[in-house]
């Protein structure tokens, strides 16, 4: 049984190719492989090309026949318009995703610690019940959730949306931290215990200082999924509290908004998560791998 979920304490999420390969036995010549890989690069980059090129086109070049060519007169008009219409929603997304990611990571860390190092009877059953919450289609809780939020006067605002994201983010954060803490030697925890440290003390002084790699993973993962969520947002927020995804969908769904503005808005709304991916891709990868549970 391979375990692909352990958050490695150092190094890459995917190991590099083994060094002692029998190179002579390769069946596919490298050049062909390289070209095929390049062809796939084109497939993966086409949508980005389209978004970029279209976003810089003036209205006069909106003709479909020129769809694939570069703009002859580059203009940032689309970007300016997109920024004007999207910036409140972007700010809402920040207010949602930053605290949301921090709080759900903290909860995940405490749960992960207890479920791996300070277990109580039935801990495995609780863990399994948590995990199921990670996979459910959120539609299955949405109608009662809206009722509940309405009663708690949290409907139509960012705090309610954040609360929902935190609760439904607990399972994945618990999973990541539990698997990560499993790699911390139990001896460390036991030593603290023998020295008379209570649970909280052990957690704070032994476990927490060793946790930053797992925090990096859950923070990035939660930030990305909260930023990109549409389903919760569309049910729980209103026009003044729409996060970027809902606002973006409304901009794109409108017939009167020019393509350049739509495309610029799509890029603008994706920029924060893309930046996180580019700068911290290593941790992002580990979050992805953790999502696969145990392989």
């Amino acid at each position: 049984m391979t375990t692909i979920t352990q958050v490695p304490r150092a190094g890459e999420a995917i190991p590099g190719p083994p060094r002692s390969r029998t190179w002579g036995r390769r069946t596919t010549p490298s050049l062909v492989k390289f070209l095929v890989l390049l062809a796939f690069v084109v497939f993966f980059l086409i949508p980005i090309y389209v978004l970029l090129v279209t976003s810089f086109k003036p209205l006069s070049e909106a003709d479909p026949s020129r769809a694939w060519s570069l703009p002859t007169a580059w203009t940032a008009e689309g970007w300016r318009a997109a920024w004007t219409s999207l910036s409140p929603a972007l700010w809402n997304s920040v207010k949602l995703a930053v605290p949301g990611a921090i709080i759900s990571s903290l909860l995940g860390s405490m749960n992960g610690f207890v479920l791996s190092k300070w277990r109580f009877p039935g801990a495995d059953a609780i863990y399994m019940l948590f995990l199921f919450g990670m996979f459910i289609p959120y539609q299955a809780v949405m109608i009662p959730l809206v009722q509940l939020m309405t009663r708690a006067h949290l409907i139509g605002g960012i705090p309610g949306l954040t609360l929902a994201h935190i609760v439904f983010g607990i399972p994945i954060c618990t999973l990541i931290f539990r698997n990560y803490y499993a790699t911390i030697p139990s001896e460390l925890v036991e030593a603290a215990r023998v020295d008379g440290a209570g649970m909280l003390r052990t957690y704070r002084s032994v476990v927490l200082p060793n946790s930053w790699p797992a925090f990096a993973v859950t923070l990035i993962w939660q930030f990305t999924s909260m930023w990109n969520d549409f389903l919760f947002a569309v049910f729980l927020t209103g026009p003044t509290s729409w996060p970027a995804t809902v606002a973006l969908n409304n901009i794109a769904g409108s017939m009167v908004v020019p393509y350049s503005q739509q495309m610029a808005a799509a890029l603008l709304a994706s920029l924060p998560t893309l930046l996180v991916y580019l700068l911290l891709g290593r941790f992002f990868m580990r979050g992805l791998m953790a999502g696969a549970l145990k392989g």
Binding site: T2, I4, Q6, I14, P15, G16, P17, T22, R25, S30, L37, V41, F44, I46, P47, V50, P64, A67, W68, L107, M110, N111, L115, W118, I126, L129, F132, G133, P137, Y138, Q139, A140, V141, M142, I143, P144, L145, V167, I170, P171, T174, P185, V189, E190, R193, V194, G198, M199, N228, F230, T245, A252, M263, A269, S270, L274, L278, F284, L293, K294
Partner: protein, 335 residues
């Protein structure tokens, strides 16, 4: 990926727990004479842990299981308009759906989408992993490019692909159709997601674009986890490279394949944002999630919306519950 080296040593450490000190994880009691401890003492050991997790247990209990139960109750009620009474009607809403053309169509759409998406993403991800497996110049760059769509929202993906899959014919052709015509691949020109029969297959293309890098990453980690000694041993025994692959590598990849299938499957059954971004609420691309959304928002038929949501939950549960049980069991066996 082979189990990190920390684990075996951890197991060794556990058995060498000093006597009299309770094993912290509760699974491996220390060796020695059986402990006779009063329940209160034991509670004092694991009680704080339970206390620390209890806010989360409460939250998950209420928000996941409580609301699921409540949703089922709504699904079995007569709450068909905002003001209608919520009488208990049993399974009526759940059975009546199957007599509805819109519902059966939505289910068929979801099935077609799932098949194309899962098969497409698995194949593409697997091919990419195979191509990258033995190491190639610029591997990191390739991997980053194949994976970046994961960081983008389905809404943004949908906006780009709606433009690419524009079905307008003739002079108004744009997007991929225009590209195909310009580079002499005019036979590929098609009406994409607006095709009444295969439209949902086209709808799956952006999803494949977004998720196949993930499958690649999973397979790549899996492939690299197959010990080189195993392959070498098979080669020594006279296996061809293809036989090594089929007899040694593929069986080792079974767990990764299962994980990838489960992940893709449950994403697919829940597909919502992508469809909303590409086609909105059009009947031609209707799926249960969009149908449910419309029932709640436009029709205010909460009972029907809840019934659809219940079916979505059942579909995912059938897939996930056995997988979760299997996962936790194998973990407990400690293999």
């Amino acid at each position: 990926m082979p189990r990190p080296a920390a684990l075996p040593s951890e197991r060794r450490l556990r058995t060498s727990t000093p006597r009299g000190v309770p094993a912290v994880d509760g699974r491996h009691p220390p060796l020695g004479p059986p402990r006779r401890r009063r329940p209160l003492r034991r509670l004092r050991i694991w009680g704080p842990g339970l206390l620390l997790v209890s806010p989360s247990i409460l939250a998950i209990g209420v928000f996941v299981y409580g609301l699921i139960g409540w949703n089922v109750k709504v699904a079995m009620s007569s709450w068909h308009t905002v003001i209608s009474p919520q009488r208990f009607v049993g399974l009526e809403n759940l059975t009546k759906l199957w007599g509805e053309e819109r519902w059966t169509n939505a289910v068929q759409h979801a099935v077609l989408f799932t098949v194309v998406f899962v098969v497409g993403a698995m194949l593409l991800g697997w091919v990419l992993a195979l191509l990258l497996d033995k190491g190639i110049r610029g591997e990191g760059g390739f991997r980053s490019i194949y994976l970046f769509p994961m960081a983008v929202s389905f809404i943004a993906t949908g906006i780009a692909w709606r433009w690419l899959m524009n079905p307008a014919p003739g002079d108004r052709a744009s997007g991929l159709n225009l590209l195909f015509n310009n580079i002499g691949l005019g036979f590929l020109d098609n009406d994409w997601w607006q095709n009444p029969t295969w439209g949902m297959g086209a709808m799956a293309i952006p999803a494949v674009w977004q998720m196949s890098g993930y499958v690649m990453a999973l397979f790549l980690a899996g492939l690299r986890g197959v010990p080189e000694e195993l392959r070498e041993a098979a080669r020594v025994d006279g296996c061809s490279e293809w036989q090594v692959y089929r007899k040694v590598v593929i069986p080792q990849l079974r767990p990764v394949t299962l994980a990838a299938l489960i992940i893709l499957g449950h994403i697919s059954l829940k597909v919502f944002d992508l469809i909303v971004a590409i086609s909105g609420k059009q009947i031609i691309t209707d799926v249960p999630a969009v149908y449910m959304w419309q029932m709640v928002f436009d029709a205010h038929d909460f009972a029907k919306g809840a019934a659809i949501a219940t079916y979505m939950l059942l579909a995912v549960a059938v897939l996930i519950v056995p997988y979760l049980i299997y996962t936790v069991r194998t973990e407990r066996r400690g293999t």
